[in-house]
């Protein structure tokens, strides 16, 4: 399993053709206290760069875009009950959704952990 990152501060955990997507710890620290997360419906076909989810902090609403094309195969229901998980465990328990990877070449442009670290430095 590998973890890759987007310039929009999302992480992707690649496990075969299933990709788990969340926002990075850096992103949550910039957003502040998260009070609401809206997730896509399971079964929805997402196109790369399409608005897929919404994170609302006390301050503002932010879109989370689909980092790759794929069908939503699971969503994290725990975020509905406890949106603050995004602040406490952005890289782990606060994953947003899982996509079934449609086109592996879409992963090529993404960053690894070191490149992402440099991106946020």
């Amino acid at each position: 399993m590998t973890t890759l990152y987007t310039e929009d501060h999302e992480w992707l955990l690649i496990d075969g053709d299933v990709v788990t997507v969340g926002i990075t710890d850096y992103a949550q620290s910039q957003l502040g206290d998260v009070v609401f997360v809206e997730l896509p419906k399971v079964g929805r076909a997402l196109k790369k760069a399409e608005a897929a989810a919404v994170v609302e902090s006390v301050k503002a609403a932010s879109d989370v875009y689909a980092p790759i094309t794929g069908e939503v195969v699971a969503i994290n229901d725990a975020l509905a009950a406890e949106p603050a998980l995004v602040n406490s465990d952005a890289d782990g328990k606060a994953w947003f959704f899982k996509l079934k990877l449609a086109d592996k070449s879409e992963l090529d442009g993404l960053m690894d952990a070191d490149a992402y670290k440099a991106h946020t430095a």
Partner: protein, 382 residues
């Protein structure tokens, strides 16, 4: 998903260095570089203010004095009454009152505080409007009055149930003041203007301090264990829970004081049949609405789901209608309620408490209930 935009022409308050030192996250607001939050974060800053005490820098707001050329306070009061629907003549010494500058069509140019300081009036206006307010006062009142702005003074607010205890250590007279008392007081030996007022719904004070002593006094107050610095983020969620208007959002030149639900701020003497009825800009329209009702009004809204419904979202009478009947003017999450809250405008006929309306959010209709305000009860020391 994150944007930073910081014009280089931003002004700084005398407390700018203090904010940066204390970890303030600085953002542009009304032409100033201001702290939106500190390391504590908006949610905890909000809850700390309601539980203990918070300190806010509001030095970007405009402070000014109004004096009659005759030297008589009543002449300044009567002059100001031409621009506001409030009774200024009856405002007692060392008392403060909420007011609005109105225009010829009954709209609101700004909202403000007016205090009677004995021989002159002291005004505090919004940052974004202060230059226009000054020009407005000069244009209408210069024949009889001297208008002086006070850019040499900072302004801070101490808010929360422990604000009085904290300030008592620096200003022994402070606890004896009542809500909306206002006047000159020594705070830690510094000549300040202190009022028992604020913008959070909590008990508290606003303190005008000479610029060159603002940082020292603010640091001393912040060193108190009950006090935390609070940014603009929590200032907004606190005032929203308290049902208080934000100028430029909930009220503006297109809303009258009556539509804005500010009837309570217009004293009897300025109403139809009063001793000095009317006689202010837009009085025909405003008094007609006060007597006969306004076509729309500002209302509180409680979204039924968990999603915050923010400024600009359109409101509909039902889940399918295509024509909106109003919109949200302020909205977000209320940390003390643990739920989303909003305010907006609806036609008066559809604005009764308990009415369900629908917000259009990301292509979906979300039910919201018209709700009385404040959402969190005020705790003023009257």
């Amino acid at each position: 998903m994150l944007a930073t935009d910081k014009p280089s022409t931003l002004k700084q308050t005398p407390l700018h260095a203090l904010h940066v030192t204390r970890g303030g996250k600085m953002v542009p607001f009304a032409g100033y570089d201001m702290p939106v939050q500190y390391a504590t974060g908006v949610l905890k800053e909000h809850l700390h203010t309601r539980a203990a005490a918070g300190l806010f820098d509001v030095s970007h707001m405009g402070q000014m004095t109004l004096r009659a050329k005759s030297g008589k306070l009543e002449d300044a009061a009567l002059a100001l009454e031409k621009l506001v629907p409030m009774d200024i003549l009856a405002l007692a010494p060392d008392r403060q009152r909420y007011a609005q500058f109105t225009n010829e069509t009954g709209g609101i140019l700004d909202d403000l505080m007016v205090a009677n300081f004995g021989d002159h009036l002291f005004l505090v206006v919004n940052a974004a409007c202060k230059d226009e307010d000054e020009a407005h006062l000069r244009a209408h009142l210069s024949d009889n009055c001297i208008i002086e702005t006070l850019p040499d003074r900072a302004l801070i607010a101490l808010q929360g149930p422990k604000a009085a205890d904290v300030l008592a250590e620096f200003c022994p007279e402070a606890p004896a003041m009542k809500f909306m008392d206002a006047g000159p007081h020594q705070v830690n030996g510094i000549a300040c203007f202190v009022s028992r007022s604020g913008y959070t719904g909590e008990d508290g004070y606003e303190i005008s301090i000479p610029n060159d002593q603002a940082e020292a006094l603010t640091s001393a107050l912040l060193d108190h264990p009950d006090m935390l610095p609070i940014g603009l983020g929590a200032r907004d969620s606190l005032r929203l829970e308290a049902g208080l208007c934000l100028y430029g959002h909930d009220i503006d030149t297109t809303t009258t004081p009556i539509e804005g639900g500010l009837n309570w701020s217009i004293q009897k003497s300025r109403r139809t049949g009063g001793a000095r009825a009317g006689g202010f800009l837009g009085s025909d329209k405003i008094l007609a609405q006060l007597d006969g009702g306004a076509p729309r009004k500002r209302i509180g809204l409680l979204p039924e789901g968990r999603a915050p419904v923010r400024e600009g979202v359109l409101l509909f009478a039902d889940a399918t209608s295509t024509e909106s009947i109003g919109s949200v003017t302020s909205g977000g999450f209320g940390p003390s309620l643990g739920a989303p809250i909003a305010m907006g405008y609806l036609p008066s006929a559809q604005a009764a408490d308990g009415t369900t309306v629908y917000a259009e959010l990301r292509g979906q209709r979300m039910p919201m209930k018209v709700s009385p305000m404040p959402f969190v009860p005020h705790s003023y020391k009257r």
